[in-house]
Protein backbone atom coordinates (compact mmCIF):
# COMPACT_ATOMS: atom_id res chain seq x y z
CA UNK A 1 0.00 0.00 0.00
CA UNK A 2 1.16 3.48 -0.79
CA UNK A 3 -0.81 6.66 -0.35
CA UNK A 4 0.50 10.05 -1.38
CA UNK A 5 -1.45 12.98 0.01
CA UNK A 6 -1.23 16.73 -0.22
CA UNK A 7 -3.00 18.87 2.36
CA UNK A 8 -3.09 22.57 1.50
CA UNK A 9 -4.69 25.71 2.91
CA UNK A 10 -3.97 28.81 4.95
CA UNK A 11 -1.55 28.81 7.83
CA UNK A 12 -3.66 28.45 10.93
CA UNK A 13 -6.10 25.90 9.49
CA UNK A 14 -4.20 23.07 11.11
CA UNK A 15 -2.84 21.71 7.87
CA UNK A 16 0.50 20.67 9.29
CA UNK A 17 -0.84 18.94 12.36
CA UNK A 18 -3.44 17.08 10.34
CA UNK A 19 -0.60 15.71 8.27
CA UNK A 20 1.34 14.84 11.35
CA UNK A 21 -1.49 12.84 12.89
CA UNK A 22 -1.88 10.96 9.66
CA UNK A 23 1.83 10.23 9.51
CA UNK A 24 1.88 9.04 13.09
CA UNK A 25 -1.09 6.85 12.31
CA UNK A 26 0.99 5.27 9.55
CA UNK A 27 3.83 4.62 11.95
CA UNK A 28 1.41 2.96 14.35
CA UNK A 29 0.56 0.44 11.69
CA UNK A 30 4.24 -0.07 10.95
CA UNK A 31 4.37 1.80 7.71
CA UNK A 32 7.07 4.01 6.31
CA UNK A 33 6.06 7.65 6.31
CA UNK A 34 7.31 11.05 5.20
CA UNK A 35 5.82 14.42 6.08
CA UNK A 36 7.18 17.26 4.02
CA UNK A 37 5.85 20.77 4.69
CA UNK A 38 6.08 23.85 2.61
CA UNK A 39 7.90 26.21 4.91
CA UNK A 40 8.38 29.92 4.93
CA UNK A 41 9.10 32.83 7.18
CA UNK A 42 6.98 33.25 10.25
CA UNK A 43 4.66 36.00 8.98
CA UNK A 44 1.05 34.89 9.07
CA UNK A 45 -1.41 34.83 6.25
CA UNK A 46 0.32 32.89 3.54
CA UNK A 47 -0.64 29.51 2.20
CA UNK A 48 0.79 26.41 3.66
CA UNK A 49 0.82 22.78 2.64
CA UNK A 50 2.22 19.43 3.59
CA UNK A 51 2.67 16.27 1.60
CA UNK A 52 2.41 13.02 3.48
CA UNK A 53 3.33 9.60 2.17
CA UNK A 54 2.29 6.37 3.84
CA UNK A 55 3.82 3.26 2.38
CA UNK A 56 4.44 -0.38 3.18
CA UNK A 57 7.87 -0.06 1.59
CA UNK A 58 10.80 2.28 1.85
CA UNK A 59 9.98 5.74 0.50
CA UNK A 60 12.41 7.15 -2.01
CA UNK A 61 11.37 10.61 -3.07
CA UNK A 62 9.48 12.67 -0.51
CA UNK A 63 8.94 15.29 -3.21
CA UNK A 64 5.90 14.63 -5.34
CA UNK A 65 4.31 16.16 -8.36
CA UNK A 66 1.25 13.86 -8.44
CA UNK A 67 -0.87 12.81 -5.53
CA UNK A 68 -3.35 10.06 -4.76
CA UNK A 69 -5.29 12.51 -2.63
CA UNK A 70 -5.46 16.28 -2.40
CA UNK A 71 -7.13 17.93 0.57
CA UNK A 72 -7.73 21.53 -0.38
CA UNK A 73 -8.80 24.27 1.96
CA UNK A 74 -8.50 27.53 0.02
CA UNK A 75 -8.67 28.87 -3.51
CA UNK A 76 -4.92 29.33 -4.06
CA UNK A 77 -4.40 25.69 -3.19
CA UNK A 78 -7.18 24.65 -5.50
CA UNK A 79 -5.54 26.52 -8.34
CA UNK A 80 -2.24 24.88 -7.61
CA UNK A 81 -3.14 21.31 -6.77
CA UNK A 82 -6.29 20.33 -8.63
CA UNK A 83 -4.24 19.24 -11.59
CA UNK A 84 -1.77 17.36 -9.50
CA UNK A 85 -4.22 14.68 -8.47
CA UNK A 86 -3.54 11.39 -10.24
CA UNK A 87 -6.31 10.18 -12.53
CA UNK A 88 -8.65 8.15 -10.44
CA UNK A 89 -7.49 9.95 -7.33
CA UNK A 90 -9.39 11.82 -4.67
CA UNK A 91 -9.89 15.54 -4.13
CA UNK A 92 -11.45 16.67 -0.88
CA UNK A 93 -12.23 20.32 -0.39
CA UNK A 94 -14.00 22.74 1.83
CA UNK A 95 -16.23 24.98 -0.33
CA UNK A 96 -15.86 27.75 2.23
CA UNK A 97 -13.65 30.38 0.62
CA UNK A 98 -13.56 28.55 -2.72
CA UNK A 99 -14.58 30.71 -5.65
CA UNK A 100 -13.88 28.24 -8.42
CA UNK A 101 -14.93 24.70 -7.80
CA UNK A 102 -12.89 21.78 -9.13
CA UNK A 103 -13.63 20.77 -12.67
CA UNK A 104 -11.86 17.50 -13.21
CA UNK A 105 -13.95 14.56 -14.25
CA UNK A 106 -11.37 11.80 -13.93
CA UNK A 107 -11.09 11.97 -10.18
CA UNK A 108 -13.39 11.60 -7.22
CA UNK A 109 -14.36 14.97 -5.83
CA UNK A 110 -15.68 15.28 -2.34
CA UNK A 111 -16.95 18.41 -0.62
CA UNK A 112 -16.86 18.83 3.13
CA UNK A 113 -18.19 22.03 4.67
CA UNK A 114 -15.94 21.69 7.64
CA UNK A 115 -16.36 25.27 8.89
CA UNK A 116 -20.05 24.63 9.27
CA UNK A 117 -19.51 21.22 10.81
CA UNK A 118 -17.08 22.73 13.30
CA UNK A 119 -19.64 25.35 14.18
CA UNK A 120 -22.18 22.58 14.65
CA UNK A 121 -20.09 20.75 17.19
CA UNK A 122 -19.19 24.12 18.69
CA UNK A 123 -15.46 23.81 18.26
CA UNK A 124 -13.77 25.90 15.60
CA UNK A 125 -10.41 24.42 16.53
CA UNK A 126 -11.52 20.97 15.51
CA UNK A 127 -11.77 22.11 11.90
CA UNK A 128 -8.85 20.03 10.71
CA UNK A 129 -10.06 16.93 12.53
CA UNK A 130 -13.34 17.13 10.70
CA UNK A 131 -11.49 17.25 7.41
CA UNK A 132 -9.37 14.34 8.53
CA UNK A 133 -12.49 12.39 9.33
CA UNK A 134 -13.91 13.07 5.90
CA UNK A 135 -10.70 11.85 4.31
CA UNK A 136 -10.54 8.70 6.41
CA UNK A 137 -14.09 7.93 5.56
CA UNK A 138 -13.23 8.11 1.88
CA UNK A 139 -9.92 6.35 2.23
CA UNK A 140 -9.50 4.39 5.41
CA UNK A 141 -5.72 4.21 4.99
CA UNK A 142 -5.31 4.39 8.74
CA UNK A 143 -7.64 2.75 11.24
CA UNK A 144 -9.36 4.90 13.82
CA UNK A 145 -7.42 3.10 16.50
CA UNK A 146 -4.11 4.04 14.92
CA UNK A 147 -5.24 7.59 14.32
CA UNK A 148 -5.94 7.95 18.00
CA UNK A 149 -2.59 6.43 18.84
CA UNK A 150 -1.03 8.87 16.44
CA UNK A 151 -2.90 11.75 18.03
CA UNK A 152 -1.58 10.73 21.39
CA UNK A 153 1.97 10.65 20.06
CA UNK A 154 1.76 13.96 18.34
CA UNK A 155 0.17 15.88 21.21
CA UNK A 156 2.20 16.81 24.27
CA UNK A 157 0.94 14.91 27.33
CA UNK A 158 -0.66 18.03 28.82
CA UNK A 159 -3.04 18.08 25.85
CA UNK A 160 -4.05 14.43 26.00
CA UNK A 161 -7.33 15.46 27.55
CA UNK A 162 -8.28 16.89 24.16
CA UNK A 163 -8.15 13.51 22.47
CA UNK A 164 -11.78 12.55 23.03
CA UNK A 165 -12.89 15.88 21.59
CA UNK A 166 -10.73 15.28 18.54
CA UNK A 167 -12.09 11.81 18.15
CA UNK A 168 -15.56 13.24 18.17
CA UNK A 169 -14.64 15.73 15.49
CA UNK A 170 -13.10 13.04 13.29
CA UNK A 171 -16.27 11.06 13.60
CA UNK A 172 -18.35 14.12 12.78
CA UNK A 173 -16.23 14.56 9.66
CA UNK A 174 -16.76 10.92 8.73
CA UNK A 175 -20.48 11.35 9.11
CA UNK A 176 -20.58 14.52 7.05
CA UNK A 177 -19.51 12.84 3.81
CA UNK A 178 -21.05 9.96 1.98
Amino acid sequence: MKEEIIIAGFGGQGVLSMGKILAYGGIMQDQEVTWMPSYGPEMRGGTCNVSVILSDNKISSPILSKFDTAIILNQQSMDKFENQVKPGGLLIYDPNGITRHPERKDITICKIAAVDEAAKIGNAKAYNMIILGAYLKKKPVVSMENVLKGLKKSLPPRHHNLIPMNEEAIKAGMDAVQ
Binding site: G45, N74, Q75, G97, T99
Partner: protein, 73 residues
Protein backbone atom coordinates in the same frame (compact mmCIF):
# COMPACT_ATOMS: atom_id res chain seq x y z
CA UNK B 1 -20.08 73.10 16.35
CA UNK B 2 -19.80 69.35 16.21
CA UNK B 3 -17.69 67.13 14.02
CA UNK B 4 -19.14 64.37 12.01
CA UNK B 5 -17.04 61.77 10.35
CA UNK B 6 -16.96 58.67 8.28
CA UNK B 7 -14.37 56.17 7.28
CA UNK B 8 -13.82 54.04 4.24
CA UNK B 9 -12.08 50.73 4.71
CA UNK B 10 -10.20 48.88 2.02
CA UNK B 11 -11.73 45.63 3.15
CA UNK B 12 -9.60 43.43 0.93
CA UNK B 13 -6.45 44.76 2.59
CA UNK B 14 -7.80 44.87 6.13
CA UNK B 15 -6.43 42.07 8.27
CA UNK B 16 -8.93 42.32 11.05
CA UNK B 17 -6.32 42.97 13.72
CA UNK B 18 -8.73 45.11 15.74
CA UNK B 19 -6.16 47.69 16.78
CA UNK B 20 -8.34 50.42 15.29
CA UNK B 21 -11.37 49.19 17.15
CA UNK B 22 -9.51 49.40 20.43
CA UNK B 23 -8.52 52.99 19.63
CA UNK B 24 -11.85 54.39 18.48
CA UNK B 25 -13.11 56.74 21.17
CA UNK B 26 -16.69 56.63 19.92
CA UNK B 27 -17.27 52.91 19.58
CA UNK B 28 -18.01 53.38 15.90
CA UNK B 29 -16.24 50.43 14.40
CA UNK B 30 -16.19 46.66 14.68
CA UNK B 31 -14.94 43.60 12.86
CA UNK B 32 -17.30 41.92 10.49
CA UNK B 33 -18.53 38.36 10.82
CA UNK B 34 -17.68 37.77 7.14
CA UNK B 35 -14.15 37.22 5.94
CA UNK B 36 -12.42 38.71 2.94
CA UNK B 37 -10.64 36.59 0.37
CA UNK B 38 -7.63 36.31 2.67
CA UNK B 39 -9.81 34.91 5.39
CA UNK B 40 -9.82 38.00 7.63
CA UNK B 41 -12.76 39.51 9.46
CA UNK B 42 -12.48 42.98 8.12
CA UNK B 43 -13.37 46.30 9.68
CA UNK B 44 -16.64 48.09 9.15
CA UNK B 45 -18.56 51.00 10.65
CA UNK B 46 -20.92 49.33 13.05
CA UNK B 47 -22.38 52.55 14.43
CA UNK B 48 -22.46 54.92 11.52
CA UNK B 49 -23.56 57.89 13.52
CA UNK B 50 -20.90 57.85 16.16
CA UNK B 51 -17.89 58.72 14.06
CA UNK B 52 -16.32 62.11 14.68
CA UNK B 53 -13.63 61.68 12.05
CA UNK B 54 -10.95 61.91 14.71
CA UNK B 55 -8.57 59.76 12.57
CA UNK B 56 -7.45 57.67 15.53
CA UNK B 57 -8.35 54.44 13.82
CA UNK B 58 -6.52 55.34 10.66
CA UNK B 59 -3.51 56.60 12.56
CA UNK B 60 -2.94 53.30 14.31
CA UNK B 61 -3.89 51.03 11.43
CA UNK B 62 -0.77 49.05 10.49
CA UNK B 63 -2.06 48.35 7.05
CA UNK B 64 -3.10 51.90 6.18
CA UNK B 65 -6.46 50.75 4.92
CA UNK B 66 -8.65 53.42 6.50
CA UNK B 67 -9.49 56.73 4.90
CA UNK B 68 -11.17 59.27 7.15
CA UNK B 69 -13.60 62.01 6.13
CA UNK B 70 -14.88 64.76 8.34
CA UNK B 71 -17.29 67.65 8.13
CA UNK B 72 -18.13 70.36 10.57
CA UNK B 73 -21.80 70.63 11.28
Amino acid sequence: MALKGAIVVDTEKCKGCGVCVANCPTNTIALSKEVNSKGYNYLYMANLDNCTGCTNCATVCPDAVITVYRVKI
